[in-house]
C-alpha cells in the first residue's frame, strides 16, 4: 500500500476482511490526492464500526454520538470554513438514528461531505437490521426477516434537493477515491453512500454479491444533470447496481447565502465586550 500523510499506526479494530479497510485506504488516497494535509481535514463521526474510521488515520477528529455526526460537522464547518469537513458513519448511524439530520442537512446544503458506510446491517451491535437491510434479511431481532421497505438513501437525497448524490463500493478503491474527491470538490452537501461487506453479520450482501452486481455510471456515460433519470437509476437495485455520481447540480452552499458567513471565518473575527454598549440605547 502506498504511504500517505494520513497514515497512522493504530491497528483497526475491524474484522479481517471488513470493507471498512478499503474505505479507509480509499479515503486516505483521495485526501492525499487532493494534496490536503491532515491538519486541514476534520472528520466528524458517529458510533459504529464505520464511525471508528478517523482513529485509524491522521486528521482532526470529533468522534461523537451515534447518529449525530452531521450536526457536529455542520457546526464546525460554519465557524471554521478553512477546514475540509466530513461526516462519517454507518448506515444505522446516518440513516437510522441520524435520519432527521440527514434529511435536513441535505436541504441546508452546508459544504460538508457525508460518507455513509453502507453494509446494510448494524455491525457493532452484532447484526440487527439497518434501514438499508433488504426485506427478508433475517437476524436475531428480525427473526422472520425484515418486513420493512429498504431505504434507498440516494432517492431520498434526491427528493430533498441534494446537490451531489453518489454511490461507490469499498471493493473498488480507485472508484471510491475518485468519487470522494469529487464530493469534496463539490461546494455544498455531498452524499457518498458506500456499499461495503460486513463479513461477520451480513451473509447476504457479501463482497462477491456486490462485486458481481456493481457497474459504473461512467461506463454508460451517465448524464449527472438529469434528475428524473437519476431517480430511476437510483431505484435500480438487484442483478445490477450502479455506482458513481448519480446526480449533481449547482446549488449555492448555505454559507454562500448567509451574509454573516461571508468573509473571514467567524473564529478569526474580533469580539469585544464593550461593543455591547452600543445596544444600550435600544433598551432605554
Amino acid at each position: 500500500m502506498n504511504q500517505t500523510p494520513f497514515d497512522n499506526d493504530v491497528a483497526p479494530a475491524w474484522c479481517p476482511g471488513c470493507g471498512n479497510f478499503m474505505i479507509l485506504t480509499a479515503l486516505k488516497k483521495a485526501l492525499s490526492g487532493l494534496d490536503l494535509k491532515p491538519s486541514q481535514v476534520l472528520i466528524c463521526s458517529g458510533i459504529g464500526q464505520a464511525a471508528k474510521l478517523p482513529h485509524y488515520m491522521k486528521c482532526n477528529t470529533f468522534n461523537g454520538l451515534h447518529g449525530r455526526s452531521i450536526p457536529v460537522a455542520s457546526g464546525a464547518r460554519l465557524v471554521n470554513p478553512e477546514l475540509v469537513v466530513m461526516a462519517e458513519g454507518g448506515d444505522g448511524d446516518i440513516y437510522g438514528e441520524g435520519g432527521n439530520h440527514f434529511m435536513h442537512a441535505i436541504r441546508k446544503n452546508i459544504n460538508i461531505t457525508l460518507l455513509a458506510h453502507n453494509n446494510q446491517v448494524y455491525g457493532l451491535t452484532k447484526g440487527q437490521a439497518s434501514p438499508t437491510s433488504e426485506p427478508g434479511f433475517t437476524t436475531k431481532v428480525q427473526t422472520e426477516g425484515v418486513k420493512i421497505s429498504m431505504l434507498d438513501p440516494l432517492t431520498t437525497a434526491l427528493s430533498l434537493n441534494a446537490g451531489f448524490v453518489a454511490r461507490s463500493f469499498s471493493g473498488d478503491i480507485e472508484h471510491l477515491a475518485g468519487v470522494i474527491q469529487q464530493a469534496i470538490g463539490y461546494r455544498g452537501f455531498s452524499l457518498v453512500d458506500i456499499l461495503m461487506p460486513c463479513v461477520s453479520f451480513n451473509k447476504l450482501n457479501t463482497f462477491k454479491w456486490y462485486k458481481s452486481r456493481v457497474y459504473k455510471l461512467e461506463d454508460i456515460n451517465w448524464d449527472t444533470s438529469n434528475k428524473p433519470a437519476a431517480y430511476e437509476k437510483a431505484e435500480e437495485w438487484g442483478e445490477k447496481i450502479p455506482i458513481g455520481i448519480f446526480y449533481k447540480q449547482a446549488r449555492p452552499a448555505y454559507e454562500d447565502l448567509v451574509s454573516v458567513l461571508k468573509g473571514k471565518p467567524l473564529i478569526d473575527r474580533e469580539y469585544s465586550p464593550q461593543k455591547v454598549g452600543e445596544l444600550f440605547e435600544e433598551f432605554n
Binding site: K52, P71, G75, N80, S259, I267, Q274, K275, V276
Partner: protein, 566 residues
Amino acid sequence: MLDFNIKIGGQAGQGMQTIGYILSKIFSRGGYHIFSNQDYQSRIRGGHNFFQIRVAANPVFAATDKVDLLIALDELSIAEHQAELKDSGGIIYDADKSAPPVALSGRFNIPLEKLAVEAGGKKVFVNSVASGAALGLLGYDFKPLEKLLYASFSKKKPETLTANIKAAKAGYQYAEANYASRFVHKLKPQVTTPRLMINGNEAIALGALAAGCNFFAAYPMTPATSIMVYLAGKQQDFNIIVEQAEDELAALNMVLGASYAGARAMTATSGGGFALMTEALSLAGITETPAVIALVQRPGPATGLPTRTEQGDLLFALHAGHGEFQRIIFTPGSAEEAFYLTHKAFNLADKYQIPVLILSDQHLADSYRNIEPFDLSALKIDKYFAKEAPEVAREYQRHKITASGISPRLIPGKSRQLVVTDSDEHTEDGHLTEDLDMRVNMVDKRERKYQGIMAELEPPVLSGAAEADLLLIGWGSTCGVISEVVQRLNAQGRRVSQLHFPQVWPFPKAAVTGIFKAVKRKVLIENNRTGQLAQLLRAETGLSVDDKILKYDGRPFTAAYILERL
C-alpha cells in the same frame, strides 16, 4: 413612597404586550423604577392574558397583588381582576364592549374601540387609545408616548404612525377631560439618567454577545425563544451566526461542533428540549467541549403549562446526561445576574472545557426591570486556547493529563497539530481506548477541574444580618420577591435575612454551612412541588431547612403570598 400598580388585561392578539411595554418604557424614562411581568396562554389569539407594571419611587424587584389601575381590554378582564383593585383604584374599560364593573368608584368608561376607529379606522389601534387614556388619567405628559410611538412605527407606513398617534391622543384627551379629576393617583416625569429596561432573556442574550458568542443554534421553544430572536437580529453587527436547527439533538450537537472548531457557542431551550439534549450534554462532558446552555424553565412534566413559570428542573439539570461529568449551573435572580453570569459562563466553559448551564425560568425571562446600564469596563473575553508552545509542539495531546485537569486546547486547522477527541473513553491524544488505567486517569483528570471551579464559585448572597431570626432562602428568579418580603418584614422590626443562590453547582457548601449556623429559622422558597434546593442542600451538607414555601401553579410568587405563609 410611590408604588403604583397597573394591570392590563385582554385577549392574546389585542396588544397588551405593546401597551405594557410602551407604558413601562415611559415610566422608566420618566425616572421611575418599574417591574413589569406578563402572564400569557399558549395561544396566539383570544383567551386571557395580562401584563402588569409596577411603577415605584424605589427599586422594585417583583410584582405585587393589589392593583391601582386596571386597563380592561375585554369584559373577562374585569371579572378576572376586579377583586384585585385597591379601594383607591380604577378601571379603564369600554362600555361598548363590556358591562360596567360593579360597585366601584373608579369606573372610567372610555370608548376605546370607537376612538380607535375614528382615529385611524382600525380596531387594532385600541392599544394606543388605552395607553393614551392611562396617561391622561394619571395626568402624565403626552409627549413621551408620542415619541415612543414614533420610534415603534417609524418603519411602518406613515398613515399607520399618524393614526396611532391620533388614537393615543384621543384616548389621552378623553380620559383627561372626563376622569382625571376623579382619579387620585398622579405621576409626573422626573429628570433621570438613562437606564436599561430589560428582561431576563434579553440580559442573557446581551451577556452572550459581551462574551463574544459567535455561534448560536437552537430550536424554538417558549420561553427560551426570545434569546434566539434577539441574537438573530444582531448577526451581522455582532458577527454571530444564529442557526435554527431541525431539532434539539441537532442544536446541541451543532454547538459542540462549532465549539470544538473554535467558536464560542451556545444554545437555549426549555425543559422538553433540554431533555433531548441530555445525551449531547454527556458528550460535552467526555469530549471536554465548552458549551453554554440556557435552560429557561417552564412547568412540566412534558408540555405542562408551556407559557408559565416553574423551577422544576434544578435536579434534572444537575444530573442530566448519563455517566458522571462536570458542569456549572448558574441560577441568576435578576437581569443583572443573568447578564454577568452569562458572560462568566462563556469564560468558565472555555477555561474548564465543560458545559455551563444558565438555569432561568419564564418569570425571569419575560419580566422587565429598568436597571443601571451594565458595567462593561471590567469584562473580558478570556479564551483559553493553548499557544502551539514548545511543550505542545511535538505531539499535541488534546486530552493531556494535567494537575488542574485542564488540557491544552487548540483550534483544528490552525496549526499542523491534530485535534482529536472522542465520545469513548480515550487516551491523552484523544483516541479511543479500552485501557482501564487510562480510564481511571481520565475520569480523575476531569473531576480535578472542580478544584479550580470551586475557587471561583459565585457565593450565595446573604442580604441582611448574619444573625437573623429568619432566613429566607431561594435561587434564581425568586430573588426579587424574597428581597421584597425581607424588606417588608424588617420594616416591621423583624430580623430577617435573605440567602440567594446565583450558583447551585458546584454547591457552595462551606459558605452555606457557615451562614446556617448563625441564623435561627430557615425557610426555603421555591417555585416547585418538591423543594429541590432543599434536597440538594441536604445531600451536600446534611443541613435541613425548617420550612418550605412552595408554589407550583405556574405563576410566580408575590410578596403577599409568601408573607401569608410565614
